[in-house]
Amino acid sequence: MPVRIEALETGHRPLLTGFQNQHPSLVEYLKRYALRHATKDLLARTFVAIDDTPTRPRVAGYFSLATVSVDRASAEKHPNLTRPPRFPIPGVLLARLAVESRVQGQGLGRYLFEEALGLTLQLAKDGPVAFRLLVTDAIDAAAARFYERHGLVRLSDEYPCRMVLDLRPVLEP
């Protein structure tokens, strides 16, 4: 069975305990907070990649989406973004993206990023709200390089981890 992407729900709880990643904060978020944020606090929605291995289904990776507002002053380095005056710039925040340590290097991170980008573009094009950016906070240098390869750029020197993708060129009719 191929990997399938599902919105995290209570039924996934037993699968979360075995998740491993080199960043403890990404493991802790999935195990302790992701479900609560998605169902009770409504802070972010998490999507899990389920791999039906011969022995049992496992969580091979996940990403979380939320909303974000970028202060216009922090985007001074990007003239295209600061051209519309005065207002903060709304976006979708790719709050977390993690791949299980035991399946890293096999293209799942790229696939999860594509899913997140696809959902974001769908919402931007057909949803009832308008927003301009896909935003993320790179957890380390390797993550920053990964996002740079996918067109995200550093927002400012003040927020060195924050990276943004201007969706306008992709969304223009």
Partner: protein, 134 residues
């Protein structure tokens, strides 16, 4: 919260007591009562799950069963959350057109958009290593 639960429990107890009497069960037959209530509820949920509407009819009077749990079930079926990403033909065409326009995305973004625009997009097949990487 405790007060709310206490009130809710009282209401629930009263409902169960009324059901027990109507179903002709003794006070000692709590397990029986639970079984019967569960089988009735299971039937209703099964009907709703199959897209049917449950109605009470008496002559010309028809009263549909309305309950938030059934609404949630219907809503989940109508708009399944977390369904794998499926782009419409229009969306695929739009993404393909975006790639032909004179904007110059980095190779990674171009590849991601091209992949999204592809009809037969598949996740990678994974091999699980035994030990976790450090």
């Amino acid at each position: 919260m405790a007060r709310f639960q206490a009130l809710t429990n009282t209401v629930l107890d009263a409902e169960l007591e009324m059901l027990r009497k109507r179903l002709g069960l003794d006070r000692s037959q709590k397990a029986e009562l639970l079984r019967e209530v569960a089988s009735l509820a299971a039937w209703i949920v099964q009907q709703a799950d199959q897209g049917r509407e449950v109605q009470a009819r008496a002559g010309r009077t028809v009263e549909p069963l309305v309950h938030p749990a059934l609404e949630r079930l219907r809503a989940r079926k109508a708009h399944p959350v977390g369904k794998a990403l499926e782009l419409s033909d229009r969306e695929v065409e739009r993404l393909a057109a975006a790639l032909d326009r004179p904007f110059n995305p980095p190779a990674g973004l171009r590849a991601a958009l091209a992949s999204l625009a592809k009809a037969g997009r598949h996740p990678p097949k994974l091999r699980w290593k035994k030990a976790a990487a450090a």
